[in-house]
Amino acid sequence: MKNEKKAGIITKVSGPLVVAKNMADVQMYDVVRVSDKLLFGEVIELRGDRASIQVYEETAGIGPGEPVYYTDEPLSVELGPGLIESIFDGIQRPLDLIYKSAGDRIPLGIDVPRLNRERKWDFKAVAKEGDRVVTGDVLGEVQETSVVLHKIMVPQDTEGTVTWISEGPATITDVIARVKGDDGKEKEITMLQKWPVRKSRPYKQKLAPREPMVTGQRVIDTFFPIAIGGIAAIPGPFGSGKTVVQHQLAKWADADIIVYVGCGERGNEMTDVLNEFPRLHDPKTGEYLIKRTVLIANTSNMPVAAREASIYTGITIAEYYRDMGYRVAIMADSTSRWAEALREMSGRLEEMPGEEGYPAYLSSRLAEFYERAGLVKCMGTEERIGAISAIGAVSPPGGDTSEPVSQATLRIVKVFWGLSAALAYRRHFPAIDWLRSYSLYEDNLRDYFDSRVQKDWSKQVQTAMEILHQESQLEEIVRLVGIDSLEFQDRLTMECARSIREDFLHQIAFDEVDTYTSLNKQYGILKAILSWYRLGQKGLKEHLNFSDIANMKIREKIGRMKYIVEKDFASEFKEIMNEIESEYENLLAGDEFDA
């Protein structure tokens, strides 16, 4: 990979930043190999013949005078079959293969092929000899895992007639097709493609998101839905469950491919993913979740510069699968650590610091990342629609979202799931604060919910939200003068809000049934709570007592509705609705008292 002839000389080493002279020929964002240990580095600044290089590996033991070798290639990822089920570091080195060849520690400058070169894939041709193809057209297919059909597409800047196409087993470096361009030159196409990570992959047209990405998490789907192709942020102080929410989304979100970027967080969180995903079943396909997952791990103890790259590596892989027409969800946990890596590099580059020492380009870099998400028409003659939904965790210090990373993120994202330490302390999980969170997709998605799920979905959601807001106002009164000063109607509202919180919003990620709730079940639970509330209001206007309404036996059943398995839900829901009615009628008639 290294070019022996062209080499610079190190003049300064400052942690992950190396400055080298004699580098006039190098290009911005080119990969270089630093010193004779051949550490991976990327050129991030050029001044005259001096290049600043961020090194993705530990630079201890490197000093001025040592060489820097050119590779004349930008930092790229390798795209092709074999991505799924792999675990990569920030610059797409396969950690499992490194472990096999080198053990627990990553040796400096190790060269491992990023994708398995030996494995044979069963290539099935889709295009025929003589077909005219353009960039993005599908040449053939490979069954990558039992759930992912990997489409081999015509690479960028290639157009022409297929002169030859292979069939049957092939490795990713074998030529599988030849395309003759209009200029008469024949191009050999392999399953392996390279793409520079900092450049977004092209698409035909960006579309407005119109369908929700169902996550099975009640508070998210009902109150703050995210669209397929949408972008969301989860800011929250530590201990509030950001990572669990991310994991839940990675497990249950309605997406074909999941790219999980563990960026600067603790190693054990990645271990959780590695331990759980191979064992968990996807509710839609019934297959293991790992069969549709790409993991990128750059934990807090790994070199800081690679953390900066890990986000780009992740989104480029996501874009590649999007181009095949898949719905991809990318989780980044957490973008704050990524911003800290930017800050560290920026500080070492002696750039003028912006707010809190973050570089001035923090918000444009964040925007660059999130803007690569979206619902798009893919390249190619055939009409294909793919999507990337991006969900980034933000860890603001002290949970105060007025800091720069949160603020810059909030300017871009359309869904905000604000986690609250107070809720987490009360053991209310997921600790998404319903008073602070919002989703700007609500308007776009309302039609979908009302026409596809239930007619009165959005009306019901609105009512429930109003009750929750009323609760917070009433709570202030209660705190001042006590619950006795409230009218019974208001007390009923508070009781209902409590029910919404405990019976609906609260969801246990580790319970087998509760971990995923379908839209119809979500609707049903909320419907039951609100029906009880409406009858209660009516009853108070009649002669019923508040305590009788609050102590209705059916409420216990409503509280346990979330534990009803999906397949029994429709019948049990009907039963519960009938019971609410009949218990209410009995109360009115006074059966309880005569007995």
Partner: protein
């Protein structure tokens, strides 16, 4: 227009029967639950003052509380012929204490 009773009395028959003589509408009830029902109905009919026999008054605290902060109906406990338990006085004491801050009784 429907005839409106501004004053009503609810209680056991021996407690209220006398009020029939002075022309006040009386409601004879056997259980507190019945009384609750009647109070709710009277309130909807915009009855102004409801006397509740003391024993009933004590048995329906929630109903009493329900109308506590609305101007009408005013619910007043009525000592029965057996003995006064001082429920009314207790209530007055509470209200005065709430209003002026000290117990003057």
């Amino acid at each position: 227009m429907k005839e409106r009773n501004d004053i009503a009395i609810i209680g056991g028959d021996d407690a209220v029967v006398l009020f029939n003589a002075v022309g006040i509408k009386t409601h004879i009830v056997k259980s507190p639950f019945e009384a609750e029902k009647i109070v709710a109905r009277l309130a909807q009919e915009r009855c102004r003052i409801i006397f509740l026999a003391e024993d009933i008054y004590e048995a329906v605290p929630e109903t009493v509380e329900k109308y506590q902060y609305s101007p009408f109906p005013i619910i007043i406990p009525l000592p029965t012929k057996t003995d006064s338990k001082g429920v009314g006085l207790e209530k007055i004491k509470d209200n005065v204490e709430k209003a002026i801050g000290i117990n003057i009784f």
